[in-house]
């Protein structure tokens, strides 16, 4: 430990940047975008089509929104040393609720509240299992993960049909619409991000989550209500997944419980981890989580435009993610800093 601080003083800001946890994810994102420029010459082009901004860069942000929304909630849950595997199923349930209530003829604004409410209820369920009954998070949320898509199908069967399609100006406005050239969903994501950020950093919730994730029994003895804080994290995660459910369901104009948001929990967890958090809990990096979600989507988009055969997609994605995570590890950052300091001498 002591030789690190010595290095720091002798190496100065350069070394500090290399060691900072935010540096490498941002570098990785830039590298992916630069490589894209070589793959596709007009990659950076942004035009106005149908009254909105249109281009690959916009697409990456646009498509990253659901993952980012889920990842924001996931960051809080992981902060408590937990995990929520059920987010994909929550999205499926929200989709089914939306389609069901639209066919029942409810006001669309009320339907939005229903959908978010369904997300919150799912979060409450997870929270009760984890914080109330003390079931391990991975098992507790597995229950809803496995059953949630079935619940979605069941809701759909209430009014017939397995993939009922619908139209909703309000919800589709939120998902695929635009305000002053900018896709509405970016505003939704920004609002949710800001809301959650204010919630955890302008109250003591963030500190308490980090305390509980860092050492639950210490936090409890210090007077933090560890159970309640954990419960709250799952509820917020459910709400975030609910928002993602609204965006995704409105996007495809149908409720598709079986396949919607498949494996989104993995992407969300990955985004949180790329953002520098540890699955061992104790820290929340909200901003870097968004960068993580953007990296994942930038990667997906680049593979789509690269013309690479689909068989290679997952392999390429895995290699790049592995590389980013390696850069993100403390040991690797230390090693890189050491190499640089040797070169400088």
């Amino acid at each position: 430990m002591s030789d690190i601080s010595q290095n720091n003083t002798s190496m100065g800001w350069f070394s500090a940047i290399i060691r900072h946890r935010s540096t490498w994810p941002i570098v990785a994102l830039c590298v992916i975008l630069i490589v894209d420029g070589f793959i596709s010459p007009n990659f950076y082009e942004i035009r106005i089509v149908q009254g909105r901004l249109f281009g690959n860069l916009i697409d990456i942000m646009y498509r990253a929104v659901p993952t980012a929304l889920v990842a924001i909630g996931m960051a809080l849950v992981i902060g408590t040393k937990g995990i929520d595997l059920s987010v994909g199923s929550i999205i499926a349930i929200c989709g089914a609720v939306i389609s069901w209530r639209i066919h029942a003829g409810d006001t669309h604004f009320v339907i939005l509240l229903y959908a978010l409410g369904a997300g919150v209820m799912c979060g409450v369920w997870n929270g009760i299992l984890v914080a109330g009954m003390g079931i391990q998070p991975i098992i507790a949320t597995l229950i809803l993960m496995v059953s949630g898509r079935g619940v979605g199908l069941l809701i759909n069967s209430l009014y017939g049909g397995t993939n009922p399609s619908f139209e909703s100006p309000l919800l589709q406005g939120l998902s695929t619409g635009h305000i002053w050239l900018i896709p509405t969903r970016l505003f939704v994501a920004a609002a949710v991000f800001l809301g959650i950020w204010l919630l955890i950093r302008r109250t003591a919730l963030g500190l308490f989550i980090e305390a509980v994730g860092g050492n639950a029994s210490s936090a409890n003895i210090a007077g933090v209500n560890a159970r309640f804080i954990t419960f709250l994290a799952y509820v917020i995660c459910g709400l975030c997944a609910g928002w993602a459910g609204v965006i995704m369901t409105a996007d495809i104009h149908t409720s598709d419980p079986i396949s919607v948001a498949m494996y989104i929990e993995l992407d969300a967890i990955l985004a949180v981890v790329i953002g520098g958090a540890s699955l061992a809990g104790g820290r929340i990096y909200l901003g870097m989580t968004i960068i993580g979600a953007l990296i994942i989507q930038a990667l997906t988009t680049s593979i789509l435009i690269s013309g690479l055969r689909p068989e290679y997609n997952l392999v390429v994605k895995a290699v790049v993610v592995l590389f980013v995570l390696l850069l993100q590890s403390a040991n690797a950052r230390q090693a890189i800093a050491t190499i640089f300091s040797r070169l400088k001498r």
């Binding site: 396949s259 919607v260 789509l304 013309g307």
Partner: protein
Amino acid sequence: MKVKTILLGAAVASGLFAASVSAQTIGFSQVGSEGDWRPAFSADMQSTAEEMGIELKFANAQGRQEDQLRAVRAFIAQQVDAIIIAPVVVTGWDQVLQEAKDAGIPVFLADRDVEVDDPSLFVTRISADFNLEGRLAAAWLAAESRGGCNIVELQGTVGSAPAIERNSGFMAVIDQFPAMEIVATQSGEFTTEGGKRVMEAFIKSTDNLDGICAVFAHNDNMQLGAIQAMKEAGLNPGQDVLMISVDYVPAIITAIEAGEANASVELRSAIGQFIYPVVLEYLANPTELEKWIVIPSDLHTAH
């Protein structure tokens, strides 16, 4: 390659057999009830049997091969006249099929194939042909575009049998036309969301589908996603670009009626009318059949 026979006019023939053959007992072991297609297939098998005066013993294996083996052994014990199996998996069939053969009960396969050492263990497989669906789509496209077309393809889940076969069937036909080419292909994982996501990227990488004359999607769900992506980008699917896909689900029928999609190859679920006549004819007159009898695929268009 197995020899395939396209059974044409089977539907017509079915009427004749239903009248002429006394009530037969047939055991049918179904895979399970996943997705949309399979429950529809099960329902059709049951209702068609009733119409044709067949006594059908139906067993749902819930996706488990051991349940399926148990069901087949039960059929053998009940001395049914014939057994139809829609296999859960490809391997592990030799023994139970041998038992059926020893009991003198002919076995027919529906839908998926099996791998056995002795091909005489089953009479024939009666199913649709994913490869044929791909060829049919390509043939329609070749005719519509007069043999010259740049195509983007939305593949199904990488490595799945329908994705592999629909792609290779499609390729086999367009290879005959020098001016037809797939310029971009990606997997949309058979979902609307996937189709939309991939199409958005294609729109950018091909400069608003400049020079693209057709979109071939391995299923309708992906095509519906692609249609949404194109509409959001200000393009006119079905008019600027030809849209062809496979499945013929209700939503694509609506899209075809609205002029946003052009054609869809039907993956039939009502196939009892193709399967039972083959079985009944064999029972009346046991002769060596081809090992694969293909159920014809229909292509549906707006006109």
